[in-house]
């Protein structure tokens, strides 16, 4: 019986003190509810981003040969923009793809306006679309080949 009394006393003590401790933690009263209380800053304000990766490029010159074989290259990108809402961010992006051939370097660059769509406001997955205002390729010879060309031109001029 004595154990039973002790258990009943402990239960009573717990039920009396639990609301007190809960009251101590409670921040009752009026207070401003910030957006961050409901949404821990998923997306807001300005943003800037750097990217790196790899990409495979192919082209079709409509010369009857179809699409060329894919060529892998390194990709670097930089972008910045604004948060329109929890479902949309917009910005500008510059991207550069580079492949080094033995005799020359092929580069493919773009400047785009992009939008990132988050289907779920509190989610982390996104899809992105962009429209490029400028797309340029450059196939440059290596410095050694350029120097040999320049020296050849200088030699021809000298002989003339």
């Amino acid at each position: 019986m004595r154990w039973l009394r002790l258990i009943i006393m402990a239960v009573l003590f717990g039920t009396m003190t639990a609301p007190l401790s809960a009251q101590h933690e409670c921040q009752c009263g009026l207070r401003e509810v910030k957006e961050s209380d409901n949404n821990p800053n998923r997306r807001s304000g300005i943003w800037a981003s750097l990217g790196a990766g790899a990409g495979v490029e192919s082209f079709n010159a409509y010369d009857g040969l179809g699409w060329a074989n894919g060529i892998w290259g390194g990709v670097v990108s930089g972008k910045a923009g604004l948060t329109v809402g929890q479902n949309l961010t917009i910005g500008g992006e510059g991207q550069l793809w580079i492949h080094e051939f033995p005799q020359y370097r092929r580069m493919l660059g773009s400047i785009m306006i992009i939008g990132q769509l988050y289907p779920v406001a509190r989610g982390d997955s996104f899809s992105r679309v962009g429209q490029g205002g400028l797309e340029m390729t450059s196939a440059s010879t290596t410095r050694r080949r350029l120097l040999s060309k320049l020296s050849g031109m200088a030699g021809a001029l000298w002989q003339a």
Partner: protein
């Protein structure tokens, strides 16, 4: 002399990714994107570029702006 060649055109890109939050302001995002472009130089051709990569993104917060403005 064929150096350099420069072709200019228009492009569009579509892609998908996933934000992995590292801290309050930093996010790392694996991304896959498909780019299609049409270039016009001494020849006209279409190209496509499939990219995979990682983005690291810093983002500001409106609450930071509020604090900055209230101090002033």
């Amino acid at each position: 002399m064929s150096w350099p060649t420069l072709d200019v055109g228009v492009a569009y890109v579509v892609g998908a990714g996933w934000d992995i939050r590292m801290s309050r302001e930093l996010v790392i995002s694996p991304i896959v994107e498909w780019q299609h472009f049409t270039l016009a130089g001494d020849r006209t051709y279409h190209g496509k570029l499939l990219n995979v990569g990682l983005m690291i993104t810093w983002s500001g917060h409106e609450s930071d702006l509020d604090q900055l403005l209230s101090e002033e």
